[in-house]
Symmetry: C2
Subunit: 235 residues, 2 copies
């Protein structure tokens, strides 16, 4: 199909499609003449995936480029792709460069100034892994990320929130099992990898929205008057 048809089918404007090709997140079409390219169903599918990761997953275009590069590389083992996808959605303790207006040097300085909270947080994560009997290396990226969250909670004076860790872990276990079952139903590598990316990113957004909805409901029950409580909880 031509680019106009691709735009109509995907709902993505033509200039945006061209922009995605320039940025390397969408493969170029096959040239049929010096000024015309042909696109196929693969392009349409990829466009929908880009929009979902961008709009709903909240990933930046550069993060998407990195994830899709790993997806498209057949020599890349599945676990590597997962690592890239997870790394793009779970920030590590050092933070996101650039957004805070710092130079690289300051960035490093700030990250190093983590203090005693970091050591305490790492111990809490190690204790959690031992307590739950999870087969996870304490040096795992998600474990480091969790330690970053706990350290931040201590630093802002909300160390008591860490007591909710097991409530959250109880909730995370069945969700993770269901995610894995979903992924295991896929056979082809392309499908498998894509389902992991979708599940990781959109599953995160799905849980976030459900948690907010459950806040509204819990607040309605706790405060008696559903309408009043609904307003209280930001409805």
């Amino acid at each position: 199909m031509r680019i106009g048809e691709l735009s109509r089918r995907s709902g993505v404007p033509v200039p945006t499609i061209k922009y995605y090709v320039r940025e390397g997140v969408l493969p170029a079409g096959t040239l049929t003449s010096p000024n015309q390219a042909r696109y196929d169903d693969g392009h349409e599918r990829r466009l929908r995936l880009i929009r979902a990761l961008l709009d709903v997953g909240g990933l930046s275009l550069s993060a998407i480029a990195e994830v899709l590069e790993a997806v498209d590389d057949p020599g890349q083992p599945v676990h590597k792709v997962l690592g890239v996808a997870a790394g793009r959605i779970i920030p590590e303790e050092s933070g996101k460069p650039g957004e805070s207006g710092e130079t690289d040097e300051e960035e490093v300085e700030a990250a190093e100034g983590a203090g005693p909270e970091s050591a305490e947080a790492r111990e809490e994560v190690a204790a959690l892994l031992a307590r739950r009997g999870w087969y996870v290396d304490a040096d795992n990226a998600a474990a480091r990320s969790l330690a970053g969250v706990l350290a931040a909670l201590h630093r802002v004076g909300h160390g008591a929130f860490v007591e909710l860790l097991d409530v959250y872990a109880d909730a995370a276990e069945p969700v993770a099992r269901a995610d894995l079952d979903y992924v295991r139903r896929r056979v082809a590598r392309e499908d498998l990898v894509e389902s992991v990316v979708v599940g990781t990113v959109l599953g995160e957004a799905m849980f976030g929205a459900l948690r907010r909805l459950a806040h509204v409901d819990a607040s309605a029950r706790a405060y008696g008057d559903p309408e009043e409580a609904g307003r209280w909880a930001g409805a």
Copy 2:
């Protein structure tokens, strides 16, 4: 204290502190001479909160400015602050402007081209709310956000992931109840509002990291060899 002391205590470099003041996320110090300002514990606490929302919560500085403005306005009812905080972390279906390189017009066009998936998603959310007996208006921001996630899943050909909705909702309920209990222990308005912001943003990051850890563990159990499986799941 002077700015140098504030920097040492908080681990945030002096130029970054000045940048935060210019951007309006940190109140200016009290001038003690034309070139010198004094800062207090409130500034240190606020700096730690900014860093946590930035580094761990993944919020942009402009989102933080909006949330903190609501926190600081004593005339602002608590539910309004919650709405602002939730709105900043849960993107709605229309997507994040600017990141995709589109003009406003294209943005609108793309959002309107949502198609039949959106109607289907809204029905799925309404059915979920009815099925679970949640006291939530279907027009609630989080409900719209959830509909956006479901529509995106359908659009990328992963409508089957929507079958996990109740597994996720089962997990979200106890988490939301624990969050609310945590917030209700706070008495002072400032503490209450801050704990909601921290709980909403950092709680999200905490669950995300735990879900990833539980993926690694579930994968280890499913595939037998913990080491091999750990690698598979991106460890």
